[in-house]
Amino acid sequence: MENSIYLDEARDPLIIAEGWMKDGKDVAIATVVETWGSAPRPVGSHLVIDAEGNFHGSVSGGCVEGAVVTEAIDVIDSGKAKMLEFGVADETAWQVGLSCGGRIKVYVERLG
């Protein structure tokens, strides 16, 4: 049980996103909005991304973060939110699949 009653500010994605915003950076926020089957991160989990591709937090066990970062940079440019869906990994999409066998939906939006 690693639960503290205080926020872990140094690792908290939403605190980091606010800090980036104060530094004048462009930021995207990705949120797990739905999961099916065994998903590594619960609904509500965040990955925050800046325009250079720096990121904090997670939306999976590291399986799809690369793809989300790429899409997030697109979202920062366009300002248009995207809904991404990731399913079971197969041969054609192994780089962006979930090897755990679950499926997740990730909402990616620009901050501001």
Binding site: M1, N3, S4, I5, L7, L14, I15, A17, E18, M21, I29, T31, V33, E34, P42, V43, G44, A81, M83, Y107, E109, R110, L111, G112
Partner: protein, 234 residues
Amino acid sequence: MDPYALKTLNAERRARRAAILVTDLGDGRDRIVREGDQVAGELGAAIAKAFRSGNSGSVEAEGRTFFLNAHLPQPCLVVIGAVHISQALAPMAKIAGYPVEIIDPRTAFATSDRFPNVALHAEWPEDVLSRQPLDSYTALAAVTHDPKIDDFALKAALDANCFYVGALGSRKTHAKRVERLLALGATADQIARIHAPIGLDIGAASPAEIAVAVLAQAIQAFRSRGLEAKDAAA
């Protein structure tokens, strides 16, 4: 996400207050709802449910799809009294997901030998609670049945609207305690919130069994937050 919503959300989270970020997945608009804010209709019902469960998720309401991201503070338990019951209660509560702090000014009781791996304060509750005030996501169990130690903490827990306030002692002991708390300025409504005798009535006999009864009662109080008010209004 609206930058103002993010700032507000982070401020609420830092202050250990519950908040839900409501995002319209159709147009991307979002807003923060604080616990206790009135929201009408199906969306309001879903928001109330999310505050109780702490679960995030999508909801269809008013012909739109909203995502509710529920941010609840980590609930925790403060135990007044480094006694035998507390020795069982501390590890049990931790396993159940409620971090524990124990306060007891009696240095013979509050030893790390008796309480390994527990946040322990061998100080008066007055001193600890002025540094670290109680809040509505904290449960307080007073188990010394020494008025000098328990009373201040009980009054502080009622004033801070702790989600659970329990006090060890028989009905007779509690009747005397009620008189003292009234003299300290507690209201009748506040007194009614104290669980005494402490713990669910499971016939607990040993200190460890009493700890189970206390923990179960605290969890029950946590998971039914806000329901009493709703019942009273209905």
